[in-house]
Assembly symmetry: C2
Homo-oligomer: 334 residues x 2
């Protein structure tokens, strides 16, 4: 095992869109494993929108990452030394040891992966946190019924690309909103979205949505917020359900944005609007992963990974993801 | 039976706060009852916030009252002639024949009242639509648990005054927001609210709420919306539930108001925000009325009526109610 690990610490609380200089690469001693621990070499790092919310310096649903602390995140790696009988060198594991290229960690904090079942990178995507976010966040909160119209914002991202496919499995009509023409092509041609539009080249979202959703909208899975959600809300049907998964349009604002008040629409249309953090479904995670794996095997769920090579490029990959440069799941290969 | 009935028609779609001239008093022929019908003399008319939403000229959850049409509303009356075996002259009934002082109506559309059980006026309040709005809208949507903190806006109104009492029955800590010092005194001293404040004489709602809700807010029953709800949202706890019953602060606005975006808070705090129209609970109405009547008998639910004398004063009473001049249920005695 190496004597040190490379780690990215938070160097500054970002103002607006994070910069690479908001993170600092350091070398830290890698402790020898205690009994019950293993040493893992990082293979994949996940970069996800939620991370922006963890580096605002303010407590939200969890304590923030403070300046000088290791950046958090989901990770997949390979065991290179083991002092626990449950794991052998060569085994792949998934965990959340953050932005570091090696770690000594208790085996109990890691989940062993079977590379025969699916590529190990999927433990950070379709068979991991983003997959469970899509699966439970959509099915539990939206309760979609066959024939209903579902709109997904951030439709080509790690979560949105799965939500649309799950909605198709549930026999819904599915409309996606994304920010690039190739993303639109991808989600319609490859993933089976019924239709989609590029919000960056569309001026009147309301008119476009009305066109694509002649029967109104019954379920809205929101990754984005802001003016896109404003437009969707005006077309929600009575008793529509909104699953609030992300608000990426708001994460880099330097002062909170005002918008049209939504409570009157929530009242008159008897809407149910619910937010969630995926950890609330932790007890049913295994069941969700089994179902997603089954659908993948049947060819009903596809996924795409955008992989950035090189541990040192993790901050750049994170920033690119926040700017919507990825299609599907954004990963770093260490 | 008289040959005619007096009726208030909508004369104009109100701009901002309705004026008396937005309604027109006319005399219309009162048809003789067909078989199965009865003639009823109106005794009480209900004026309620929801009526403002019905006269905007725009379809919401129901078709609007058009100019020239009879104004809608709940009513209690006494049968003066009957061609149906189920009702006799002298019987009291509740229905929704709108702003008219007599009506010929099918007996099947009316519900007979027992004046021995409760004053017949309560069929328009605690044992009627406002009572069921409070009962189901609070218990079903907020799912309050003992020890939780509940905030009610419009806390001294027909619905809010009942919500607070139901919350106390469920062993919650209950904070009310209302717009007059005598209302504050009433809900704390007579109805048992733990505390309350007058939003018209308070400048910093957030600070006041923080003071009164040291453990944050778990349930919010919203009759008001606008800046009051903005302040409440900032203090909602993780997994808090919001029942959106009314938005009276917004009803008379001539252009929609902007406000802070709420979806980020809904996301991060995993809130559930749900709107409702009381008719959705219609099938369980009898059960709700039985429970409220039982609580009244036990002295655990009190109610107050503000009664305006004279059918011709119905528009004035409606406007006064929209301006918050009532405590408890606003009624007109015809």
């Amino acid at each position: 095992m190496p004597a040190t690990s490379r780690r990215f610490l938070l160097a500054a609380v970002p103002v607006g869109l994070p910069k690479e200089s908001d993170f600092k690469l350091v070398e830290a001693p890698l402790p020898a494993p205690d009994p019950g621990q293993v040493v893992v070499k990082t293979v994949y790092l996940s970069v996800d929108p939620y991370m922006r919310g963890r580096i605002t310096g303010v407590r939200t649903y969890a304590d923030p990452v403070h300046v000088g602390e290791l950046m958090v995140g989901g990770t997949v790696g390979q065991v290179i030394e083991s002092r626990d009988p449950s794991l052998q060198p060569g085994d792949y594991v998934v965990g959340a040891w953050g932005w570091q290229d090696h770690v000594s960690a208790p085996a109990a904090y890691l989940r062993k992966l079977n590379p025969q079942v699916a590529p190990v990178s999927t433990a950070l995507g379709v068979l991991g946190m983003p997959g469970m976010t899509a699966y439970f966040g959509f099915l539990d909160l939206c309760q979609p019924k066959a024939g209903e119209t579902v709109v997904v914002s951030g439709a080509a991202g790690a979560v949105g690309s799965l939500v649309g496919q799950i909605a198709k499995i549930k026999d819904c009509r599915v409309i996606g909103i994304a920010g690039a023409d190739d993303k639109i092509t991808y989600i319609v041609n490859d993933l089976g979205y019924d239709s989609a539009f590029n919000y960056k080249t569309t001026t009147d979202y309301g008119a476009r949505l009305k066109d694509l959703c002649p029967k109104g909208i019954d379920c809205y899975f929101d990754n984005v917020g802001g003016v896109i959600s404003d437009a969707v809300f005006t077309l929600l049907n009575p008793f529509a359900r909104v699953s609030v998964c992300g608000q990426i349009s708001q994460y880099n604002l330097q002062s909170p944005e005002q918008g049209p008040r939504l409570l009157s629409q929530i009242l008159v249309k008897q809407l149910k609007v619910e937010g969630f953090i995926v950890t609330r479904f932790q007890e049913r995670w295994a069941q969700g992963i089994a179902q997603m794996a089954q659908w993948m095997k049947e060819g009903r769920i596809k996924y795409h990974e955008d992989i950035v090579e090189g541990f040192e490029n993790t901050p750049r990959a994170f920033i690119d993801m926040l700017e919507g440069k990825n299609t599907g799941k954004m990963l770093v290969k260490a």
